[in-house]
Every structure is written in C-alpha cells, then in structure tokens.
Symmetry: C2
Subunit: 340 residues, 2 copies
C-alpha cells in the first residue's frame, strides 16, 4: 500500500501494482502467476486476490522478452485469396490455438522476392515460420531455410535435414486423374495449367510426363491457364477448340470457371467433354455437374504442419522425414466416356 495511489494515472496495471497491493515483491507475484509452488499458500492467495481486483494480466511482450519466446508462429502464403491457402491457414491456426499458440499471417501477393523478407520478419517476431508453397527458386530457398530455423515447409523441400517438409504428391494425383480418363475411353486429353511459378504446377507437369509414358496411346496437350475462376473461364475457347475429349484442370477453382464458360458455349459436361478439377475444395461436389477431382487431405496437412512445428520448437534439434500426402480420386459427374 506504499505508493499504490501515486500511479493511478498510469495506463495499464503492471506486476508492480499488484506486488504493492499484496505487499510482496515483483518476484513473488511472478511466481504465483506462473503457478510456481514454492510460495506460501496464504501469500499466493493474497496475490491472486490482488491480481483479480486489479484485473492484472501479464504483459505478453515483457514476458516474451524475458522468456525469449512469443508463443506465436508466422505463416507466409503466396495469396490469401486462394482457397487452398485459406484452408491451410485455418487448419494450422486452429491446431496451434489448441496448444495456446497464435498465428501471424503474411501474404506475399505471389511476388517471390517478398517471400524472403516477409519470412525473415515473421521469424524475428515469432517462434517459428511455416512457409507455404513458396514461389522462390530452389537456390533462394536453400539459402533462406537455415536462417529461419524452426521452419516447416509446405509443398517444397530442402536439403536441410532439420526442416520438416509436407508435400502433397500432386504428380501422382494427376496421374490417377489421367488414368481415370483413359479408362473411360479418352485418348485426346489436355492439361489446363496453373501459375507458372507454382511448384505444384510443375509437379503436375512432371506427373503428366510419366502419365504419357505409361499410356503411349494418349495424345496430351498443354494449355496455359491459371488458378482463378476467371482464368478457367477465360480458357473456355482454347479448351473448346483444342480437340481433346477430356480436360485435366489445375484445380477446382479454375475448373468451375471453365465449367461455366463451356456451358455458355453450349458444350455439355460430361456428355461432350469430361472435366476434372483438383483439391476437392468444399464446393467441388456442388458444381454442376459435380467435379471429379483429386482430394488432398488438407486438414490432416494443417494439423500435421503444426505438430512438426511444435516438435521443432520444443526440441531444437528434432529431425523429421518429409511427410507425403497422397491425393485420392473423387469421382463425380463431370467425367464420363467420350461421345463417339
């Protein structure tokens, strides 16, 4: 009760205020706030009471400074309007929240040169960073990775054995979709690409190379596309005139745009043309017709990403093999045997 009145003007109540109120030292207050048992029960109670009366809550930044950790992780994504990254963000966020961690977001707006900067900044404020499908080159990534250490990569890998990676096997998934079309009888197939800098796009292209080796009878062409509704829609003419009977689209979003464009042009799906998407986004079953797609188990991915992050935060030298996620076919109404 020494000088508690003096700093009534002070903005926020600090540990000192409750110490004064309870007639103990800063140290003791800190101890009871952290559940340290080496403090006399009656004093502890007095401190609790004082804290409650003053509505004292420890200042996290003071705490972070002393503890050297922020209980926050950063996540950097190329584009927050992309449903895939939205899902990942969400799943990582709720997994982290379950363990009392928060997430700080950074959107690089698909400009790869921003990624390193954002990631570095995020790392300095957070206990770790998850780098989501970075667009930067492999060299840049290799250089950046060690500086970020508690780092988990999604859809990219690195030489560094200390950074866990979670990769979806996009190549394999698109092979499955292609095989599905072949089984239905399609021989002329086109791939409508995603963004050029996207690693998952090149994985699909790789998978398709393998695909044409396995099925030499198919004739595959590649049409430039994108990963947005508009991009899919705008590709309608190119798709309509390409002569293929089955179209593998980069993802469900572009596929939905394409579906609409085709319908406007009087092309029926799946009667005239079979379409596949990718990712099995929530809306994929509700397009018309429902999209045949490759489902990637995205909620597992988010929570596993957090699990790996936590391992590396708690034990500095944890090692993780890279985790693989296998997409599985989800067959719906947008694919059928070709016309004739």
């Amino acid at each position: 009760m020494k000088e508690a009145m003096a700093d009534r003007s002070r903005r926020r109540v600090g540990i000192g205020d409750v110490a004064a109120r309870a007639g103990v030292s800063h140290a003791t207050v800190s101890r009871v706030m952290n559940g340290n048992t080496t403090v006399n029960a009656s004093i502890a109670q007095r401190v609790q009471a004082a804290a409650a009366e003053l509505k004292y809550k420890p200042n996290p930044v003071g705490r972070s400074l002393a503890l050297g950790k922020t209980e926050t992780i950063g996540i950097v994504v190329p584009d927050l309007s992309n449903p895939t990254f939205q899902s990942i963000l969400r799943d990582v966020s709720i997994a982290a929240a379950r363990d009392g961690y928060r997430v700080l977001i950074a959107d690089s707006s698909e400009v790869s040169s921003e990624e390193a900067i954002l990631a570095g900044e995020a790392r300095r404020r957070c206990d770790g960073v998850v780098l989501c499908a970075p667009r930067m080159s492999q060299d840049e990534l290799e250089e950046l990775a060690p500086t970020l250490h508690p780092l988990v990569l999604i859809n990219r890998t690195t030489e560094l054995s200390s950074t866990p990676s979670l990769v979806v096997d996009y190549g394999h998934g698109i092979q499955k979709l292609g095989a599905h079309l072949v089984e239905l009888g399609h021989r002329r197939i086109a791939y409508l690409t995603g963004p050029e800098r996207s690693a998952s796009n090149v994985q699909r292209l790789r998978g398709l190379e393998k695909f044409v080796q396995d099925y030499p009878e198919v004739e595959l062409q590649v049409i430039p596309g994108g990963n947005t509704y508009d991009a899919g829609n705008e590709a309608s003419d190119a798709v309509a005139s390409c002569g293929a009977t089955g179209i593998l689209v980069f993802n469900d979003v572009a596929a939905m745009g394409l579906l609409h464009g085709l319908s406007e042009r009087g092309i029926r799906v799946p009667e005239d043309l079979s379409i596949t998407g990718y990712d099995d986004m929530p809306f994929a079953r509700y397009t018309m017709p429902g999209l045949t797609t490759a489902a990637v188990p995205i909620t597992q991915l988010g929570s596993l990403a957090w699990r790996r992050m936590r391992e590396h935060i708690t034990q500095a030298n944890a090692q993780s093999p890279t985790d693989h996620f296998e997409p599985h076919l989800e067959i719906r109404g947008s694919t059928a045997p070709p016309k004739a």
Copy 2:
C-alpha cells in the same frame, strides 16, 4: 573490437555487438538504426557497415517493449472457413501490410464465449483489434468494447463513440433482392436463413419485415438454413416443397449448395424457381446459372477498416461516425419471371 570475440557463442547478434564493432555506444547504434539525423555522417556510416557485416536486425520484441507498440493488429473472426471473413481478413491484412503492420488472427469457431477472451488476448499483444461480426450479445459487447480500445467493429455497433463501426446494410440489400423478385412477378417468396447468432442474419430478417410492409401482396415464409454449402444443399427438399416461386438465400455459399440440390431433383432454375444469393462472392458469377445476388463492396470494407484502425492508433481520441456500406443488386441468370 574490445570483446567482440568473447560472445561468438551468443545466439543472436544484438545492438551491443554492433556497438562494440563500430566502437560506439548502444545509444548511437539505436539512433542510426532509426534514422535519427543527429549523428555524425562518418560514424553513422561506420555503424551501418558494422550492422551490415553482422547482419544485425533489431529485435522486434525488445523494440516493442521500449516503444510500447507492436505494429501488429489482431483480428478475430467467428469462422475462418467462411469466405466472407476470409475476404475481410485478406483485405485488412494487405491494407495493414502497406503501412508496415502485421495481423494476428484468432478464430472463435462460432463459440461466442471465446470471443471476449480471444479479443482480450489479442489486444494485449497488438496495438488494436478488429472484431469481425462478433456473435456475442449486445450487453457483452458494450462491456467489452471499452477495454479493447483501439477497436474497430465490423457488422456490429456500440454505444461507445470512440469505436468505429463498419456495417453493411444487409437489411436494405435483401429488400432490394425481394423487390427485384416482385418486379419479376413473384408473389410467394421464401427466405432461407443463415446462422441464428449471426447479426447479419437478423438484419436480413428485419429488412424482410419492412419488405412485406412495402409489398403487402407478397406472401413470405422463412425456412431455416445455414451459411454453408451443405446447409443450402440440405434445405433443398424444404425449399422444393414450400410452394414459393422465389427464394432469397442467406448467402452465395448456401445458394450454391441449394442450386445443386434443386438440379438433382429436376427443378430448373430460373424456369421453375428463382434463386438469389448474397455477398457476390468470387464464384457467384460462375454457378449455373449465375447467381443474382447483392454485392457488398468487401475490399473497400477491408481497407476502410484498416484506415479507421490506423486513425485510432495514431490519435488516441479519434472519433469516427459508423460507416455504412450499401449492397447493390447484381442480376444474373438465377432469377426470372415465375412460370405461370
């Protein structure tokens, strides 16, 4: 160069390291790092060089402690899987990033009792909080608001004149949609609701009360729905059998689910039934048929939210009138005159 070698073992380089390297004091280093001009050019250069060689970057948490600000804002949303909140999050995030601020996210998972806690936590770590469509009661909100001070509310308002609010006039928007149906000749209309706790749902209901007053000839019924694809889809039977010729759906997401369900039941849109959505989400023009909807200017909303936040962060006693956003009709293929 005194004892620079001594702490090679130290983890991260601090201001002291570069001070030692440049042969100046902490204070001077701090000054040059912050672009303070009161330091001799040659010394400044020496410090810059030392900082560069050591790759020194100021520790943000030390900085935050000294400065009393984190250059971070928190945003709490009821559900990150909801496209509306995803958009807001994204737009706020990029607006804030332009001014060098970051955003910390918190997802309350639609449980209203979590909101106050999450918001309080976020506020302690951040310079301000944006509370997005909180589900809590008005009383709780009034009580919470003053404790969060740099606070901006989205889709809710408060008595407190110091907290800016951004509200979309959902009531007015749905009246416009209803009027559109009436003009087309519809008399029996149904509203497929959103989540009960959603303030924007009750605003729509209020708007509809007004709507039936303005158009006494219409017969309006209310059907319980939701804000997800699945909820819309599951309402298909109820909608099909309700006898209405025009359906106002809570939002585009549910409307898309409904569209699919109706199609499966052989009900044609808009020939047999007119459907409207709400929000003009990116995919709304690509459903089949394209959704007539009420567009809310969501990117303006996000950036204005940030602008208001910035005002209140920089000037403690800023006042803002609440900002209103007027949805406008976006007429597409899902509405047409009723059959007979």
